[in-house]
């Protein structure tokens, strides 16, 4: 399946942190828990998606850095 532009950009941020397989899995998990369609992510979805991913990264990165990554995600425009 062809990746949407936003989906690809999110994966570009997540992959170095989570590794390719886990980045894919984490994005799917977040989209599923927020009831978003992964292939049709829009700029309007990014705030909630960023919040969900930030929450999942906090134990690894601490709130401040996780929040910085979350901000980076929420600013994606597609």
């Amino acid at each position: 399946m062809e990746q949407g532009n936003l989906e690809r950009q999110v994966l570009e941020i997540l992959t170095p942190l989570f590794g390719p397989k886990m980045a894919e899995g984490t994005l799917s998990l977040s989209c599923s828990s927020l009831r978003l369609e992964r292939a049709k992510l829009s700029a309007a979805d990014m705030a909630s998606l960023a919040w969900d991913l930030e929450r999942r990264m906090t134990i690894f990165l601490g709130s401040q850095k996780a929040s910085a990554v979350g901000r980076q995600l929420s600013e994606l425009k597609g």
Partner: protein, 265 residues
């Protein structure tokens, strides 16, 4: 996003010196005595510095900072244990091995509490993140390995030590405490390995992997130490010291890697 070169060089030199002196220095000589007591202090201090660097980079008071702070506390207590041992053995000339246990053991034994608490916080935080815990077969493998280690430990080490009429009560407690505490510590360390194995080359998991491997090394060294110590075979220049020193350095490397992730753009 890397560990600074000075840390690799210092750690490499320390371990190289450790191997060289243990292999070549004459038994009972001053060089061996001082090396075997000073190098663990240097390794623990380097390791503690690495973990403190991570704590300093975690600016917000949250569970990640608490876990790393507890790890730093454990390292500080371990460093106090190493320093006390050096003072007793090398400065005051007390035959520490013949005593079976000293005040240094109190520091090392106490250090397990923050180590365990730190791992428990990381695991609890990971569970709350909702990320997958990993494949069941990995847990089965870990459970199998832990069960074999526990049975071997109980049959060949703990029961014989407890039944030994020649060993005093305090020494018995010390010889039993370390491997038993290690066994308890191996459970969260094993779970950490099962979790981090899912991340492949992902940077987030590297510090946790280093910590888990360090505790495995540590546990291995402690178990061998307990058996050697109980049989009166542990002495200055024993190569199992390398297990502890490498574990200290690996925990420090975990801290520095964590810092490098935190300060990167």
């Amino acid at each position: 996003m890397r560990i600074p070169i000075w840390y690799w060089v210092s750690s490499g030199l320390l371990l190289l010196l450790n191997v060289a002196v243990y292999a070549l220095a004459p038994e009972g000589g001053a060089l061996l005595v001082w090396t075997s007591t000073l190098l663990p202090i240097a390794a623990a201090a380097l390791g503690a510095a690495g973990v403190l660097a991570a704590v300093a980079a975690l600016k917000t008071r949250d569970s990640a900072r608490l876990a790393w702070s507890l790890l730093a506390l454990g390292m500080a207590l371990s460093a106090c244990g190493e320093t006390t041992y050096m003072l007793l053995d090398s400065v005051f000339g007390i035959d520490v091995e013949s005593l079976g246990s000293t005040v240094a053991d109190a520091f090392w034994m106490l250090a397990y509490l923050p180590y365990f608490a730190s791992l428990a916080i990381l695991l609890s935080g990971y569970r709350k993140s909702g990320l997958p815990m990993g494949e069941a077969r990995r847990y089965l493998a870990i459970l199998g390995a832990a069960s074999v280690a526990a049975i071997a430990l109980i049959v060949w080490l703990l029961v014989p030590i407890l039944r030994d009429g020649e060993t005093d009560l305090v020494s018995k407690i010390v010889y039993v405490y370390y491997p038993a505490a290690d066994l308890v510590l191996l459970v969260p360390a094993g779970i950490l390995i099962a979790i981090t194995a899912q991340f492949g080359k992902g940077l987030l998991s590297v510090p946790w992997t280093c910590i888990a491997i360090a505790f495995l090394l540590w546990a291995g060294a402690d178990m061998v130490y307990s058996w050697l110590g109980w049989n009166g075979l542990y002495g200055e220049g024993n190569f199992i010291d390398l297990g502890w020193n490498a574990a200290y350095l690996l925990i420090g490397a975990a801290g520095l890697f964590q810092r490098s992730i935190l300060v990167s753009d």
